[in-house]
């Protein structure tokens, strides 16, 4: 009797194994997955701040004293244009001197140096294509440095890469003119203090640290 029951049970198990084994396998897999420790990335609120501090140090080591002071005090850099007829698509400058204003993570603005007439906005980014997740933004000062290096190293290449827009698309022209006015005031003060033997205008606060 017992032998018959055992044989019947074995036959039943053998017949049902096609149904039971995958299910058991699935349950085992889920149990293992639940026990597996998932990697966790704890948010470090100081990481981006430290990255920005490193970026500022690097920027300072690359640009000259005047440019560094300009960025520190005003929050942007001016780079003089070197193309004979102005930046591409700007309609030509007739040989008039022109320059760019570089803001962190904002378009580069080209303008005529003497009249402050705005020429164009050049939208350019430096995305890290190798990063599969998270932010692909450079720290602010690294973004400024990347634009500075690309402009001073190969102006035509950067301008041809950027998306060109008329002034006012992203940056308020009135704000740009205010910045140009601030720049001229800043330069005037700096020249006066340098001629008096000083070291330029006092820093107007650490803009980046305060942001």
């Amino acid at each position: 009797m017992l032998l018959a029951l055992a044989a019947t049970a074995l036959v039943a198990i053998a017949l049902l194994s096609d149904l039971i084994v995958p299910r058991l396998d699935d349950l085992w897999g889920r149990w293992l997955a639940r026990r597996q420790r998932t990697p966790s990335w704890s948010y470090d609120p100081g990481r981006e701040r430290r990255a920005e501090q490193r970026a500022r140090t690097l920027l300072r080591s690359c640009v000259n004293d005047e440019e560094w002071a300009m960025y520190r005090d005003l929050g942007f850099l001016r780079v003089w244009g070197t193309l004979a007829d102005g930046p591409d698509d700007a309609g030509g400058t007739g040989g008039a001197p022109y320059a760019y204003l570089i803001y962190p993570h904002r378009p580069i603005v080209a303008y005529l140096a003497q009249t402050h007439r705005l020429l164009n906005e050049y939208c350019v980014t430096f995305p890290d294509e190798t990063r599969p997740y998270g932010s692909s933004r450079l720290p602010d000062s690294d973004d400024v440095l990347a634009k500075w290096m690309a402009l001073t190293g190969d102006e035509r290449r950067l301008i041809s890469t950027a998306n060109m827009h008329l002034p006012g698309r992203q940056l308020d022209p009135a704000q740009i003119r205010r910045d140009l006015w601030r720049l001229s005031q800043w330069e005037r003060t700096r020249m006066r203090q340098l001629s008096d033997g000083g070291q330029g205008p006092p820093p107007a606060g650490d803009r980046k640290s305060a942001a």
């Binding site: 490193r54 939208c123 350019v124 690294d142 990347a146 690309a150």
Partner: protein, 77 residues
């Protein structure tokens, strides 16, 4: 330059030493193959600063003390 990190030292060495030079060349090529741009900040005699974009190891000025790699520029919105 690395998003979220800022400046990261990739490699350093003395390019006048053969073994260092080979390692620097390999790292240089690896960065460019990864799509990064390379620039060398320089200063002229009047103190004006600018950068030189370099596309090969041979283009790096012999007296350069560093090469900065940064993500390739793309048109933004």
């Amino acid at each position: 330059m690395k998003p979220g990190h800022g400046e990261v030292l990739i490699a350093e060495g003395d390019a006048t030493r053969a073994e260092d030079e080979q390692r620097l060349i390999e790292e240089f090529r690896r960065q460019l193959d990864a799509g990064l741009w390379a620039a060398v900040p320089v200063a002229d005699k009047e103190g004006r600063r600018e950068s030189i974009m370099v596309r090969s190891f041979e283009e790096i000025p012999w007296d350069a003390d560093r090469v900065i790699f940064f993500p390739r520029a793309a048109g933004g919105r």
